[in-house]
């Protein structure tokens, strides 16, 4: 497995594969299928200061090669996550990335300060880009100055490195990345879902109760890949990529585009074993490509030379 082990700010990972936030709960459900310690990390469900009940149903709708969701950050709230979910996850040899969400700067700061002090939380993922709640941080994710300020405020209180989750729903993703880098971010996670809609053929009305939802799944992979390719060339921050990843070759694509690690989202719903299978398949693919380590392939999409020898 040495071909896959990587070090990122705060994270000493056995491999660069992890489930994406919102697609794996706090791990309990998937622990029925395999030992979670196999994973590089786990990005747990977004946590807000208070419990959130989320949006009305229907909350999901299928689209071609993808799905729309508008769950609305349903979660049990900070205290319960700290007292129940994170201690449960501590039984696994698994660095946790805690996804922090809120409506106001003060919410993010309060959640970040407390959750970052939990022993198995090794990094934060600042969720400034959830498109599915009225006050879900979308402004934080689309305005560079606001994003920079929020990142700086959270950095002040966090005991662990802070990764910022980037919204694809912006005109210039690089500008946003550079803004949060200036704000002191330790890394980027990208991309969140794309705002989309589906209408019922018969009624002409939106299928999802929230009207719009976040598009995920294989349909968004080309968008995510392009954004990782672009941002990795202008920012010095490591990128944990996500967006339609459902196979080991998808992971290779994102590493090639410049990412350091990869998160799997919607594909977990289709195949609960997908993360495990990707981790098992990666070494064989590296052999096939003649790479000694997965990061030998990092950024080869835009770097000069056959195989870039660039380990994070």
């Amino acid at each position: 497995m040495d071909k896959l082990s990587i070090k990122l700010p705060g994270l000493d990972l056995k491999n660069p594969v992890m489930p994406a936030s919102g697609c794996f709960g706090f791990g309990r459900e998937y622990s029925q299928f395999y030992d979670l310690s196999l994973l590089g990390s786990i990005m747990v469900k977004a946590t807000t200061l208070e419990q959130r009940l989320g949006n009305p149903v229907p909350r999901v709708a299928e689209t071609s090669s993808g799905m729309l969701n508008a769950i609305g950050l349903q979660n049990p709230g900070l205290e319960k996550v700290i007292s129940t979910e994170l201690p449960w996850l501590a039984q696994y040899d698994l660095p946790v990335i805690a996804n922090v969400a809120g409506s106001m700067t003060e919410d993010y700061v309060a959640v970040a300060e407390k959750i970052s002090r939990v022993e198995n939380v090794k990094a934060l993922e600042l969720n400034i880009s959830c498109p599915n709640v009225k006050e879900g941080g979308i402004a934080f994710g689309t305005d560079p100055e606001i994003a920079k300020d929020l990142t700086a405020r959270v950095k002040e209180v966090s005991s662990v490195p802070v990764y910022v989750k980037m919204s694809p729903n912006v005109a210039n993703i690089s500008e946003m990345a550079l803004a949060v880098e200036e704000g002191g971010a330790d890394g980027l996670t990208m991309i969140n879902t794309l705002v989309g809609m589906r209408l019922d053929h018969k009624t002409g009305k939106p299928v999802i109760a929230n009207k719009t939802g976040g598009l995920s799944g294989p349909a968004i992979k080309p968008v995510a890949l392009r954004m990782v390719y672009e941002v990795s060339q202008v920012s010095n921050l490591p990128i944990i990529a996500m967006g339609g990843i459902s196979s080991a070759w998808d992971v290779i694509d994102f590493i090639s585009a410049g990412a350091s690690a990869a998160a799997v989202g919607t594909a977990n719903f289709v195949n609960p074993f997908v993360c495990k299978e990707i981790i098992e398949e990666l070494p064989g693919i590296l052999d096939e490509l003649g790479a000694d380590h997965i990061h030998d392939l990092k950024g080869r999409a835009w770097k000069v030379g056959e195989i870039a020898n660039h380990r994070a």
Binding site: G22, C23, F24, G25, R28, E29, Y30, Q32, F33, L53, G54, V57, P58, R59, V60, A61, E62, S64, S65, G66, M67, N69, I71, Q74, G217, P218, S246, T266, N268, F269, V270, N271, P272, F273
Partner: protein, 254 residues
């Protein structure tokens, strides 16, 4: 225990208009613990449709490791399923079904609407085995979509309703219960949400169990897509893991 298994398709036939019966063989059947549980099926190996499809288990035979599902081929996924003939990727059994062991009394009334009828078949068989008299009230859109009438008749009386009056009583299942003045000690219902609400109101005087439908993502409780509103402090429960079967009075309709 939940399993993911490539199950062998041993039979697939259209038993009414767009209604298919599929029989699957595999060790997953050993894990089924109660009628009313469901499975989550990947209908093909492609990305479109992407998600699995939740389909209730209509009956099962552990001795021969066979389970039967009945589904309506109405959308992209279920039409794709209707085309399959060799094997299929199945995850299950999922959810909590009808708690037969908790049912008390002598007579049970089973009320199904459309594609909510199938899980009642195994429920009826097990109630009958427990010594209950079972009455069935099954609602369909038209005569062409009626299925399993004779199978249910082997277990007890069957009252059919059709929305257009082309067969049986014209109207809804609640109309048949009134028209024939059907009495029971406990009810079991599965069907469209408006039907469930109407049945619960009509049979408020007896205990009952309701099987709920909702759009699903993961099917195992992680994605929180399939929540339903319930009475009590929790407000939401997950149809996939807390249900699909709920006790009468738990759900909030509308």
């Amino acid at each position: 225990m939940i399993k993911v298994e490539k199950m062998k398709i041993i039979q697939q036939t259209e038993i009414a208009e767009n209604i298919f019966k599929i029989s699957l063989k595999g060790s997953l059947v050993n894990e089924i613990s109660m009628p009313g549980q469901f499975v989550h099926i990947k209908v093909n190996t492609a990305n479109d449709p992407l998600l699995r499809r939740p389909i209730s288990i209509s009956s099962y035979d552990k001795k021969n490791q066979i389970m039967t599902l009945i589904y309506r081929a109405s959308g992209l996924g279920t039409r794709e399923l209707a085309n399959q003939s060799e094997e299929i990727d199945v995850m299950g059994p999922l959810g909590s079904g009808f708690p037969i062991e908790q049912a008390e009394g002598q007579t049970a009334i089973l009320i199904g609407g459309g594609i909510g009828v199938p899980p009642l078949y195994e429920c009826s068989k097990q109630l009958k085995n427990k010594g209950f008299n079972v009455i069935h009230v099954l609602g369909f859109e038209t005569k062409d979509t009626v299925f399993y009438e004779s199978a249910f008749k082997e277990l007890g009386p069957v009252y059919i309703t059709t929305a257009d009056g082309s067969y049986g009583t014209k109207g809804f299942v609640t109309d048949a219960i009134t028209e024939f003045d059907l009495k029971a000690d406990v009810f079991f219902a599965c069907g469209p949400v408006p039907m469930l609400g109407a049945v619960e109101k009509q049979l408020n005087h007896i205990p009952g169990y309701i099987s709920m439908e909702q759009r699903m993502g993961c099917g195992i409780g992680a994605c929180l897509a399939c929540v339903c509103t319930v009475n009590g402090p929790e407000l939401y429960k997950k149809v996939c893991t807390d249900g699909p079967v709920f006790r009468k009075g738990e759900l909030v309709y509308g």
